[in-house]
């Protein structure tokens, strides 16, 4: 129960729909409600036309041909289809055997990439999970070192969802093309916000979602390269053969229309959005790091999206920090869903200690975040951290110059 309106700084989790997106979708609920697969009447033709317009809009934002975009339920499905579909199609040995091929990915990928890869490992594939460096940025050299003669697939996210850090995707794509390895990127946090061109960026498979770019939830896209090379996928969902047979099921026409519109707006307003977002993020980080000691921004400071900030505050406990900033809707570095607090695996993979990982906040900004929102958040965070530090025995020890790592604690 919230007595006050929360400030929404969790746009990396999801964004509100742009009203222009909602407006574009509305007719397809009630008037133009046809099944795009109905070939014999106007209702079906209208739905099919709407989907093909959306496909053009979605293709435009990533520099693809419309024929190369298939619609899914979102990035999780796109990632599953890309990774499992490519692995099965390009496997070097039949099902039930080992040595079916090697997959390269990264330890701080989203679970929607890691878990499909782990499943493939149980089904005869090998995988390497690269440990990211402390700045979180994956370079082409990291990938080059991990490749093997039997590598069939590389999956590296474009921008990290917790840190906003940007990996060297175009360079990694070029390396994969040279080695004739399929390259997939989870671009959920990237597309619609940053310039994307699947041709010059050398991408074979790219996943993205509607709800991260001011579109509706439950709809997303998967780019599947059609030439040089023509990438084929084993489908996960079989049936009516929609979406070039790679994703059967009656298309979510309203969602697809909204997704297309969101892509179109994202492309048209990208520069404007970035010019709005980065000053907000910089303001928040500048103020917090100057007002509070032992406060660090996690991840590479410049190779980063303009809309995500991940900050740790020393000597405060994560759950009490979340309690102190409960008037801000944001994400925490610790998932306190159970008795034992699990610090974020993304922050841990960067070598950030459990203490700093627990007491981290991910604040992410959006098209409608205001300077007033950010200023209010700065004040709330500063107050909460100071309040908790006034109670923290660890902060006292730090002030006395005691090295906490040298203390032997009576652990329970």
């Amino acid at each position: 129960m919230q007595l006050t309106q929360q400030i929404y700084l969790d746009n990396a989790a999801t964004t509100p729909c742009d009203p222009r997106v909602v407006e574009a979708m509305l007719p397809y609920f009630t008037e133009k409600f046809g099944n795009a697969g109905s070939r014999n009447h106007r209702f079906g033709w209208d739905a099919e036309d709407a989907i093909e317009i959306a496909r053009e809009q979605a293709a435009a934002v990533i520099g693809a041909n419309a024929k190369e975009v298939i619609f899914t339920s979102g990035s999780t499905e796109s990632n599953n289809l890309a990774i499992k579909g490519a692995a099965e199609m390009y496997a070097r040995a039949p099902k039930g055997q080992s040595g079916r091929g090697h997959i390269v990915t990264v330890a701080h990928e989203h679970k929607a990439v890691l878990d499909p890869v782990r499943r493939l490992m149980r089904e005869g594939f090998d995988a390497t999970f690269i440990s990211p460096p402390t700045d979180g940025v994956i370079t082409v050299d990291h990938i080059r070192q991990a490749l093997r003669p039997d590598t069939i697939l590389v999956s590296v996210m474009w921008a990290n969802n917790e840190l906003g850090t940007i990996n060297e995707v175009p360079q990694i794509g070029r390396l994969c093309h040279e080695r004739e390895i399929i390259f997939h990127t989870d671009a959920t946090q990237w597309v619609g916000k940053m310039p994307t061109n699947v041709e010059t960026d050398c991408i074979d498979l790219l996943s993205w979602s509607g709800h991260k770019i001011y579109g509706p939830k439950g709809v997303g896209g998967l780019y599947v390269r059609r030439r040089k090379p023509r990438v084929r996928l084993e489908s996960l969902v079989d049936g009516g053969g929609q979406e070039r047979g790679m994703r059967s099921g009656t298309q979510n026409v309203t969602g697809i229309v909204g997704f297309g519109k969101a892509c179109e707006i994202g492309l048209a307003e990208m520069d404007k959005d970035r010019a709005h977002l980065q000053p907000l993020r910089d303001r928040l980080e500048r103020e917090l790091t100057s007002r509070l000691e032992v406060c660090q921004v996690n991840g590479h400071l410049t190779k980063r999206l303009p809309n995500i900030s991940n900050i740790s505050f020393g000597f405060v406990e994560g759950e009490s920090l979340m309690m102190g900033v409960r008037d801000i809707a944001c994400s925490s570095g610790s998932a306190c869903t159970s008795a034992s607090l699990e610090p974020s695996y993304v922050l841990k993979s960067l070598g950030i200690g459990d203490d700093m990982a627990h007491s981290s906040l991910r604040l992410s900004f959006g098209r409608w975040t205001t300077v007033a929102d950010v200023d209010a958040a700065i004040g709330l965070i500063e107050r909460a951290v100071n309040h908790l530090r006034s109670m923290s025995p660890l902060f006292d020890l730090h002030k006395e110059g005691v090295d906490l790592s040298k203390i032997v604690w009576q652990s329970h």
Binding site: S320, G324, L341, M391, P393
Partner: protein, 148 residues
Amino acid sequence: MAYSDKVVDHYEKPRNVGSFGTSKEVAARKDIGVGIVGAPECGDVMQLQIRVSDAGVIEDAKFKCFGCGSAIASSSLATEWIKGKKVDEALTIRNTQIVEELSLPPVKIHCSVLAEDSIRSAIEDWKRKSGAASATTTAAAPTEAAAH
């Protein structure tokens, strides 16, 4: 995680936050007992300091806590409850009473256990430093007996 009103109240307005000096200063004082329990990597560290009279009465108590809202509330409540009590009365406080008072959910019971442990630990420290171990045991005997 939904917190009870009492936990939120202790979080917002913690009672008796503080200490009786730096760790070196309090270590040198025989009338002060210090209990530090928990570990940073477990997400909870509680520090309880008590100032005890010659008669074995806890005249003042101060806490510091690194931990979740429930841990802060448990230690804040513990200081309220032990102030003015004889040390052996304070030792009768059980974590279940803290759980009940603050309506702690099962996942937060360990916070109340830490608070009980911090009371014991602070009193043991005071007894050791003041050399009062034998004296208070005798003095406390009637109370112990009454409690049983």
